[in-house]
């Protein structure tokens, strides 16, 4: 696997949220605005890249590996929790408003299955550089997924797109579309109902696309086979 493939696999083929259904708690809870999703994505990116690096550094040395392997779960927990505390303090100091809206979901990155899963499944038996690239790809794939969910929820629910609101205000007001259509933004999409609904429908669309692709491939294979057999006859 080349470096580029290693980086890109987290986006579509092995997307942690849409394909493996990991990390659903933050994906449903904080996706009310695009800004929250970006904040969460950056936090996960930081933690996942560094945790993959540290785990791989700890397990790459054969002597150290022998020592760590029997107690690897507590070791991973301590490494990940330390990184999460660092993120928590940085966010509290530099983006306090965002820190308050994300609330309990920043410390809960510790129990995010994506981070633990990558440490166990990838970083523990790959080289440091490969692990960092894998972590970056997976975290950006997760960030992309929660940004897609939050984009739908914010546009339909509040009629805005907030890119960043700490200090500089980078947001887009789309109320004129709703006014043109003569309707109000659908408040439901900001509530828990909207979270489950949006996530479910996006998953269904992805499943439908995958099914269609598989069917097409099957048909093509069948056609090729019958064509071939026709020739041999």
């Amino acid at each position: 696997m080349t470096m580029k493939e290693n980086f890109l696999k987290g986006f579509i083929k092995e997307n942690p949220l849409f394909v493996f259904v990991l990390g659903t708690c933050p994906a449903l809870a904080i996706t009310t605005t695009l800004e929250n999703a970006i904040g969460m994505g950056v936090a996960v990116l930081f933690v996942l890249m560094l945790s993959n690096l540290l785990v791989s550094l700890v397990t790459v040395n054969p002597k150290l590996r022998e020592l760590v392997m029997p107690v690897r779960i507590p070791v991973y927990i301590v490494l990940i929790a330390t990184l999460v505390v660092i993120v928590e303090m940085l966010m509290k100091a530099f983006v306090p408003a965002l820190y308050r809206t994300l609330g309990v979901f920043i410390p809960l990155i510790v129990v995010n299955c994506i981070i633990f899963g990558r440490a166990e499944a990838y970083a523990s038996d790959h080289k440091p550089l490969e692990s960092v690239i894998d972590g970056a790809g997976m975290a950006l794939g997760f960030a992309m997924a929660i940004m897609i969910i939050s984009l739908f929820r914010e546009i339909l629910g509040a009629g805005t797109i907030t890119l960043w609101s700490q200090g500089a205000n980078l947001s887009l007001d789309l109320h004129f579309i709703f006014e043109f259509l003569g309707i109000e933004p659908i408040d439901m999409f900001l509530k828990p109902v909207g979270a489950f609904m949006t996530f479910g429908v996006i998953m269904a669309v992805i499943a439908a696309a995958t099914n269609a692709k598989a069917e097409k491939a099957e048909k093509a294979a069948k056609n090729a086979k019958t064509g071939q057999s026709g020739v041999t006859k």
Binding site: V21, C25, P107, L108, V111, G200
Partner: protein, 191 residues
Amino acid sequence: MSNLLIIAFSAFFIQNVLLTQFLGICSFIGVGKKRSSSLGMGLAVIVVILLASVVTWTIYKYVMLPLDIGFMKTIVFILVIAALVQCIEIIIKRFSPALYKALGIYLPLITTNCAVLGVAITNVNRDYSFVEMLVYSLAIGLGYLFVMYIYAIIREKLDRNPVPKAFQGTPIAMIVAAILAIIFARFGGLV
């Protein structure tokens, strides 16, 4: 007394751990397929949330606050929870093999259940007293069991009905959860 009732009621219905706070969704989707397993998981979660809350609250109040190391709570709480779950597993295995058979497989899953860590952090963030913390943790656990059981009943029925191919599996599970969330959102008007 009324204060405690409000805490219990809002933890059970209004801020239901699964449908409003989105804690423990992984286990909700994964384990909530059968009534028996949802019951086992729910009971295990109640026990672990109660014990973990008591232990973490006590450590935070009497060790971490006097030493002024409150910022370490994420690391300390997750380690305490992981150790606690291991201890519960060993104790149950030793004294009640029958109970271990019923709950055993769910216990390791609970370490990474966000509900446990989430409740422990919420308890200290909201500055609850000991009794308030007990009531809140118990109500959260019961709310988890209640919603999980209803959800498992619906999904068992769903298995016998035709679902569009694209919606099979996780998507339809999410839609069912959305409908349950609509029902629970209505309780918000009561307090």
